[in-house]
Amino acid sequence: MIRYLLARLLTFVPTFLGVTLISFAFIRVLPGDPIIVMAGERGLTEERYAELVTQFGFDKPLPVQFWTYLTGVLQGDLGVSYVTKRPVWDEFFALFPATLELSLCAIVFAIAIGLPAGVIAAVNRGKLFDRALMSTALVGYSMPIFWWALLLIIVFSGNLGWTPVSGRMGLLYFFEPVTGFMLIDSVLSGQSGAFGSAVRHLILPTIVLGTIPLAVIARQTRSAMLEVLSEDYIRTARAKGLSPLRVNGLHALRNAMIPVVTVIGLSVGTLLAGAILTETIFSWPGIGKWMVDSIFRRDYPVVQGGLLLIASMVMVVNLTVDILYGFINPKIRARK
């Protein structure tokens, strides 16, 4: 197992270098000059421009610039934002908890509903619940996120007034972040009502972000369960006189979990990287919104560093999924 982990960690190296190179190249391929963008409407003089070009090192050839960047990254220095002048590392970790909190809530929401729904649909194959669930899942999967988000805001925030429209916390409460997770910080702050406010702020973004993973998990669970339910060992389990709950929920689901864990892992990856729309709609101060803003500003260090960190997160999630396979399927564990 240790050897397997080390081997897997080794494969991170080329991926990491590749992501570094691609993020470095991509942002430079985009038209637009960060110095001009920073200068804004007033513009700047030729001399000042030349000065800044030298200061940021844009006068050197690209390979040299890349080498400088890469050596910095390897020493843990992701650079400093052109706009805020704060280290990319600090900005990322100030904002990442917001994204992580939202993504985790979304995936928990998706699993908590999608998994049982998929199991029940498979067990009641072809019946009303199955058909209703699968059509709903298809709708959920195909629905444009921004439209779904606006619809929920209109109904629950506008008409009913149950949930706030945007942000992470009500204006009545203020406290310094400790962990960066509002659900935890609000409890730590000891202010009554703060936790409730954090929860209410999370509800709509969680539903919006979790809808697609929910649909994918429900459909994947159903099809994996259908396959497993026709296996001989399910007949054996039933021949022992076990209850349907134990046969379906333990003997079948354990086997069906292997493909489901894969889609859950993939979903977590995309959630971390791709909560951009949801974060923008709900003014959620996470890394998705931060990345979009920095692309518009041509803030090279932020885009590069942000992509690199997000890619690393996805790699870690994938590794976790691979380790989970071993826990679910003893055959894979043996191969390792």
Binding site: E231, D232, Y233, R235, T236, A237, R238, A239, K240, G241, L242, S243, H251, R254, N255, I328, N329, P330, K331, A334
Partner: protein, 321 residues
């Protein structure tokens, strides 16, 4: 009193092209400690009738019977929950494919102990002791280590031994073995059969052995029921059946045994078992029968008296018995 008595059991499957009758008016009677072999070609409804007894058929199947009693209790009138107290405890079943019949995600020990907890309510220590005892009964070496093994770490023969251990865990009064040796090597086949008969003698449980191997029947069974196209066509004790088969189908099956062949080429039965769409109006075996005439083609045969082996035939073979 009979341990198991089934009268007029029929099973129909709803298929895309209409309903298909896989089991047609079968009677099965098993006394305590009896060994009954059910013989027939693939598709003759041997497994389906036993799966119907176990309640293991998919929802597309409709099961009807005039009587289905185990130990005097009416299985038809039971709720599924009550029936699950008998299934796996008093009636157990093992299957054709041992390798795929064990759940790959759980250890052998877990799967054996599951029934012990459910039906006997044993505590962990007692379950472990009983599991070890069972592993020894079915001849698995190094049982302590094997209990924590996963199915993929075992051979087919070992897996079938585990299945048998699992089936006899709660001391069933009836064990149904559905082609238990078909998927195994010939040498292993003999071992598993020996194990089954030894366990049967030791525990006094009744055994229903589903097979298409007449050799297995001759070695193991006391009574034989021959099925064809979902119907029981003959039932006799094993000696008389091999000596004087009354149904032309039984006779043809026996003639096809290599040990009994008198010609260089083995005799075969021409044709195949009728399917969903080509069921003959008269005797189901008539299209393949060497003795069939117009009556056989058009009129379903009666069931002859027990002296004639309960055969479904207009013209039973073997003279007056």
């Amino acid at each position: 009193m009979a341990l198991l008595s089934i009268r007029n059991l029929s099973v129909e499957f709803a298929t895309a092209s209409g309903s298909f009758r896989a089991v047609d008016a079968i009677d099965v009677t098993v006394d305590p400690g009896d060994i009954l072999a059910i013989v027939g070609e693939s598709g003759s409804g041997k497994s389906v009738s036993m799966l119907a007894l176990m309640g293991l058929l998919p929802w597309t199947a409709t099961v009807t019977a005039d009587e289905m009693r185990f130990d005097g209790k009416d299985l038809r009138a039971m709720t599924p929950r009550t029936r699950r107290r008998i299934i796996g405890k008093d009636i157990a079943m093992i299957f054709q494919e041992p390798m795929s019949s064990l759940n790959p995600c759980f250890t052998v020990g877990f799967q054996i102990k599951e029934g012990l907890k459910k039906h006997l309510g044993l505590d962990a220590r007692a379950r472990h002791a009983r599991a070890l005892e069972l592993m020894e009964m079915v001849g698995i070496p190094d049982p302590v280590r094997r209990l924590s093994a996963y199915p993929h770490q075992m051979s087919g023969g070992m897996s079938q031994r585990v299945m048998i251990a699992m089936a006899i865990a709660c001391r069933p009064r009836l064990l149904i073995a559905d082609e238990p040796t078909t998927a195994l090597d010939v040498t292993i086949q003999a071992q598993i059969l020996d194990l089954l008969t030894a366990l049967q003698a030791e525990t006094g449980m009744a055994l229903i052995l589903i097979t298409h191997d007449m050799g297995v029947v001759a070695e193991t069974a006391r009574r034989v029921s021959v099925q064809y196209a979902g119907q029981k066509v003959e039932e006799q004790p094993v000696g008389p059946l091999f000596a004087t088969p009354h149904h032309p189908y039984t006779s043809a099956l026996l003639a096809a045994l290599p040990e009994r062949a008198t010609t260089r080429l083995l005799p075969t039965i021409p044709g195949v078992v009728p399917g969903q769409f080509d069921r003959p109006p008269g005797c189901l075996f008539a299209p393949r029968c060497a003795f069939a005439d117009a009556t056989c083609q058009n009129t379903p045969p009666p069931v002859q008296p027990p002296a004639k082996g309960l055969v479904r035939c207009h013209y039973p073979l073997g003279g007056p018995a």
